[in-house]
Point group: C2
Chain length 217, copies 2
């Protein structure tokens, strides 16, 4: 499968690297054509790994992974011709986070989410929110943390969620550890876990943790 | 120990009932003196169980449990003479939730929390936020759900958090399953779990669940 991974940060490079390792082809998208991080990443990955502008990457990918910050996601996606997005799955792994005066601020929060924003702005895409609740190394290597901890998916399109669930399976998440929260509106709940994640990160001292939903029956 | 439990809803009655069962004395506080739910509760509980206005309950309690809705917590606490709060632990188990046009709305959210609001308004109290992340029956019977799932505490006063942790121990939460998130500001993170809780409640179909934080080391 051909993937566009938008964003050359740690999240994008980590997801892209795992996709290459799994035998997929990846174009790592960036604001500029020859982003040094993207060039270095593609060189180190070898065959199957390419890079380009956000538009070039999106044109290449059959699935588009949004791995840029949640607050710039719409700007980035608007730089892509809609024809290169139409009908495609957009896997949104972002959080709408910024640091303001040393404090974390989410925007939107509670009454909207990045997942919904993308789905509204690009109604011909099929947005699936997932993976935003954990660190990127854990995204692609769930065995790093013991236990039956889970990952969430949110989205309107059932077949898109199934396809993402299959991809999560390739990453190491068996289907029973993928919780379908419901429609894209439930991305709000997943994005609002960020403050707890940051607080636990401070408490635990490293990012290798996740939550396991335990239930009586 | 003498507890004031403010609020005669399911949460207040459940917490109050468990406290009585544990041998404590409880005054269940309400807006009016002879709230039928409070009278019935006290009658059914027998010795050790009383009721009164919010002010009377608070005057009685050595520890004050806020089990009214998060959005009315300040109004309720302001109806109590400050002398009946000063120096006391206020255990805040509330969420600032309301339903608006069929949608859940938290207020405050993200930039503030009920826990902080109470601590600011009553600087001579020692506010501990806890238990707001789970259903009230699970609060007092953690074995209802399998696994080493946890409960959070947030607050400025270490000895108050220790006293609450001891109370949680009486409820059945061993100390290693009480995660101290930090100062009262971290109540924001705990309160922002509510949308995930509601989404999981819908997904699972019953409220007997909790999250277990799993970590690599």
């Amino acid at each position: 499968m051909r993937y566009a991974v938008l964003g050359t940060g740690e999240v994008g490079r980590t997801l892209g690297g795992k996709l290459i390792e799994l035998g997929h082809e990846v174009s790592l998208g960036s604001r500029v054509k020859d982003n040094p991080a993207a060039v270095e990443w593609a060189d180190s990955m070898g065959p199957g790994a390419g890079h380009g502008t956000f538009a070039e990457a999106a044109a290449f990918g059959e699935v588009v992974v949004n791995a840029v910050g949640g607050r710039v996601a719409l700007t980035v996606l608007r730089s892509v011709d809609e024809e290169h997005l139409d009908g495609k799955i957009v896997l949104d792994v972002s959080n709408p986070i910024a640091f303001e005066e040393g404090q974390v601020r989410l925007a939107p929060v509670e009454s909207d989410s990045v997942g919904e924003q993308i789905q509204r702005a690009f109604p011909n895409t099929r947005v699936v929110k997932s993976l935003n609740t954990i660190n990127c190394y854990l995204m692609v290597d769930p065995a790093m943390v013991p236990g039956e901890h889970q990952i969430f998916v949110s989205g309107e399109d059932q077949s898109a969620k199934e396809q993402v669930t299959a991809l999560l399976g390739e990453f190491g998440w068996p289907p029973h550890r993928v919780i379908d929260l419901g429609g894209i509106r439930t991305a709000r709940a997943a994005e609002m876990m960020l403050p707890l994640w940051l607080t636990l990160f401070q408490h635990i001292g490293h990012p290798e943790f996740n939550v396991e939903v335990r239930r009586a029956r």
